[in-house]
Each structure stands twice: as C-alpha cells, then as structure tokens.
Symmetry: C2
Subunit: 313 residues, 2 copies
C-alpha cells in the first residue's frame, strides 16, 4: 500500500443476492453497494466501512474484507437478517427485474460513525435515503472529497432531501437514465449542466458498456468502457466503478480535472473485472497489477496519434 | 485541396426527405446516403458520384455538389420521380418511424460507372441491394479500399448476396443492432469476430451518441462521439460519418490501424456537425477548419495523462 494513500469512508448496503443469470443461478451471493465498493477501493487506499449486517452474515466474509485493509469498526451487526435482493437478468444481461427485496436490518440502518472515522478525508456515500447520506456528512469533520450515488427511487420519492444532499457533495455518480430523470432533460449535456447547478462540482454519468462521461465546470471527458467478451454478472459493476474511483482519488489526492480522468479510468478498469465473474469473486481479489495491466489495454483502446497536416487546407 | 488526395467513388441513394422533427417539420429536404456521404467526403478528397435522380431534382442542388468537387459524370437522371422518404422522429430524437417510402427511380437503379471512374482507388458503397454493390465492384479495376454499408432489410432478405458482398470488401460500417443481427451474437466483441471471419479486414460499429468501435485483426478502438447540446436532425449522420471517413482515407492513403483511427475521428467530427442542422445544411458547407477545430475538441475530450506510479505497488 502506498504510504500516502488517505483513508476512504464508505457507507452503503451489505446484502445477500440471489442472482438468476442467463447461464447460472447463484444464491446467497455476498453483495451490496458497500461490499463491492470496499473491495474495489481497497486496491488503492485504506477503507473505513459503515454498514449493517444481520446475524446470518458470516465472520468469514467479514474477515475477507478485513484482510483487504477494510476497517470494520463502523460495521454494525444487528439482530435479524441481512438485506436480501433477488433478481433475474435477461439473456443479454442488458436488463434485470427485481424478484424480491427484503430490507431486513437495512430498514432501520442509521449510519453511526465511530470516533476513529470522524477525520476521514474521502467519503463515498452509496445509494440510500438522501437524508441518511446527509446524516453521515454531519458526522464527518471536514472531508476533502464527498462522492455520492443515488437512484430513481429517491429522485421520485425524496426530491427535497435529495436537493439538500446535492448541496453537500462534491461529485455525483449516477447512470444516464437517472441523470435524465433528475434533471428533466433528455440531452445529456443539458442534463449535466442542470445537475451541476444543483451543487456538485463534478458529475459522472455511467453508461454501462458505453463507458462514462465526466462533466465539470471546465471540460467534458468521454471515458471508454473496456469491451468484455464474456460478461458473466453485471451486478455491482457500478459500485465497483465508484469504489475504485474513490479509492484511486484517496490514493492520489489529485482532484484536478486530469486527476479525475485518471480515477475514472481506474474505476472502469475495476468494473471491467467485476463483470467477469459472479458476485465479488473477482473484485475481492483485485490487485494493482490487474488494474495497471488493464489501464495499459485502455491506453491502446483510446490511442489516436493525431496528424494535423491532414486537416490543413 | 491536398494534391495527393485520391478520388473516392461513392455509390448510393439521392432522395427527397420529409422530416417530422420534434420542433420543426421540413418537406422536400435533399437527402439520401450518397448526398450526405459526398458532401462529407468532399471536404477531404475529390468525389466521383454514381446515383440516380428523377426529373424533379433541381439543377441547383446538383450544382451545389459540383461546386464541392463532386464529379457528376456517373449521375443518372431518369424519367420519373426521385426516391422519397418520410419519417417522424420521437421527442428525444432517439428513434424514428418511416411514414412513407417511394422508391421511384431508385427502384430500377443499376449503377453504371463511366469509363473515367474505372480506376478509382477508393470506393464507398452506400446501403443498397448487396447484389448491386457487387455489380459496382465488378466495374472498378483494382480498388485499394472498399468500404460498404448495409442494413437489416438485406441481412434478413438477401443473406447469400450479402455474404458474397462481404467477401469483396475491406471494411464494413454498420450500426450496433445490425452487427448483432448479422452475426447472431449479442456481445459486440463476439459479433465483431464473427463478422471479420466473413470477409472484411475491419469493422466499424456505429453506436450513435455513444461513438463507434473499430475492430480489426490486431486491435480494438473505442471512438467517442462528440456530445452535442442541440441535436436538431440526426438524418444522414451515419452517411456523413462514412463519407468523411472514406474521404479522409482517400486523402491520407494511410490504411494502417493508426490511420483508420484518425479517419474515424474525422468521421465523428463531420457527423457531429451534420446533426446540428436540418438535412445537409451544415454538411454541405463543411470545411477543413471545421473538422480540425472539432478534432482539437475531441483531443481534449479523450485526453488522459497516464501516471503509472499510482498503480504501482
């Protein structure tokens, strides 16, 4: 671990997922936004986790996180069952339907930071009620960077809390449809400008296999996604992306536009591994050599040797 | 015009389009694949056009092409009416429905090359019956590069002629859904490998606002699309892309992987202008400074200053 890497606070869900994939069905797969994000971030920086699990969550699975440098002081073990989600993907892994959601112990989750987390400089707020995201920020002293995710459920149901949350964060990471819904603008450039007026200094729009766009005050960045031949399970790819992005920034400390671009590439690299196996099987074992190898492939994937002589009259 | 630019043969449709756009309706708009492609290609190289128009096509519109360096020796004026297409776009310009197609003189179109076209080194075959595309190639002496487009109609209805055409071309330029349909593979990497086994040395998969992918034997290139804030009319964007791509290659003569990447960027730049106005209004006036300006913006849109120290253990 790079000695300069700063700690990153990750708050989100931990879950058991039942996944019906085109070729495999898998039950009781350890998942949840905080799990994927923590594994991915731990490649780059120490992680401080705030989440809740039930009595059915095994110590073995927690130890796997701890071995990756994830601080579990903020992990609450509540009486009852862990959050459970069941979903079925279509043949082409393009869309999925939720078959069942049991919030269980997550229903009463009130994130509480241990004293040792208060000074954490980097914060990643996984998708949850925007009021809870604000509660977390009220408990952090003076974060250098706050990144948040959200979803259509809160955009529709909690617009006021969401608006308040947006004023408290530096970066919003959402998918394309959510950006359109939040802004009421279909054109993604217009949607981005609208969202940037609501608080965050930068916006990352995730587009799945089409990559991601970074919008900030000065510039736009068109990030590729790595073309994967054998996508096995897209679950958690977005959380892996956000976790690696946040972890990379906690490691680099470089919040310039160029630094954000590099962080997005690290996020895309991590996400490209995530989808190659069921659940966290690959993300839980990621190392820096994996990331640097895929960044090298990204470089060739994006490389254009410009030649202005050809476009001179 | 660069003295070294080689001539490019373009064969395709010329049409009148009736366009119902979200904010404007426009009738009798000069369109067709060959028209868009010729205007775009003429920015880079001399164009030799083979197409058919009816008696209703004005000399003024033909002169506009001629002034751009488009050779009209291969243009047939047939008795009857010009091909006519009417379509309505949805509010977000994401999809369109065809309201009417009148093939008119295009129904009996049999491309016939003037003797002066026989030695043309670069060939762009617009979307038409694959049998006609082969007929064109039978009339060209020994082209250095043949690029072809096709569509779902021929993939479904003329698989044998299409298979024969694919063996005669160097590069296929189709959209993502067509690549999936032609290959029977949903995953775009697998689809590309399948299509490359059928003949073409390289494949460009157009993804609209998500950019394009270039596949060849050695590498994959992830080309961005320019994020356009005010898309007015997407009609002809794909033909503009292909025309500029082909014209750029006829100008550069560089068919290496690096050369193809630069040509795709030129195609994306031209297409990004096309959608900013109704019909050919912008494409018909494009110049090299427009292209080089947008290529400069593309460079910043794609730029990542890699820093391997951050991903070293």
């Amino acid at each position: 671990m790079n000695q300069k890497a700063s700690p990153l606070l990750i708050v989100g869900s931990m879950a058991f997922d039942d996944l019906e994939l085109p070729t495999i069905s898998a039950k009781n797969v350890v998942g949840g936004s905080a799990t994927y994000s923590s594994y991915a971030a731990s490649v780059f920086s120490p992680v401080r986790l705030v989440a809740v699990v039930g009595e059915d969550f095994s110590s073995k699975d927690l130890e796997a996180l701890a071995r990756r440098g994830v601080d579990l002081a903020g992990l609450e073990r509540a009486s009852g069952k862990t959050f459970r989600w069941a979903g079925r993907y279509d043949t082409n892994l393009l869309s999925r339907v939720t078959l069942e959601t049991q919030l269980n112990v997550f229903a009463d989750f009130r994130p509480k930071l241990p004293r040792s987390y208060v000074d954490t400089p980097y914060v990643l707020l996984g998708n949850m009620h925007p009021g809870l995201q604000i509660d977390v920020l009220d408990q952090v002293a003076s974060p250098k960077l706050v990144i948040a995710d959200t979803m259509n459920f809160w955009i529709e149901g909690e617009p006021d809390a969401l608006a308040a949350m947006l004023k408290r964060i530096h970066m919003l990471v959402i998918n394309e449809e959510e950006a359109r819904q939040l802004s009421g603008q279909h054109n993604i450039c217009k949607a981005a400008r609208d969202i940037l007026r609501r608080g965050p200094k930068s916006l990352i729009v995730k587009r799945g296999e089409y990559g991601a766009l970074l919008f900030d005050a000065d510039s736009t960045f068109f990030a590729p996604a790595f073309p994967i031949e054998d996508v096995v399970d897209p679950t958690g790819a977005g959380d892996t992306f956000a976790g690696a992005l946040a972890g990379y920034l906690a490691r680099s400390g470089d919040l310039s536009s160029a630094g954000l671009r590099r962080a997005i590439m690290a996020g895309s690299a991590a996400a490209s591994f995530c989808v190659e196996a069921v659940g966290t099987a690959k993300v839980a074992r990621l190392g820096l050599p994996d990331i640097s190898g895929r960044l090298e492939l990204f470089r060739s994937l994006m490389e254009v040797k410009h030649d202005t002589s050809l476009v001179t009259a």
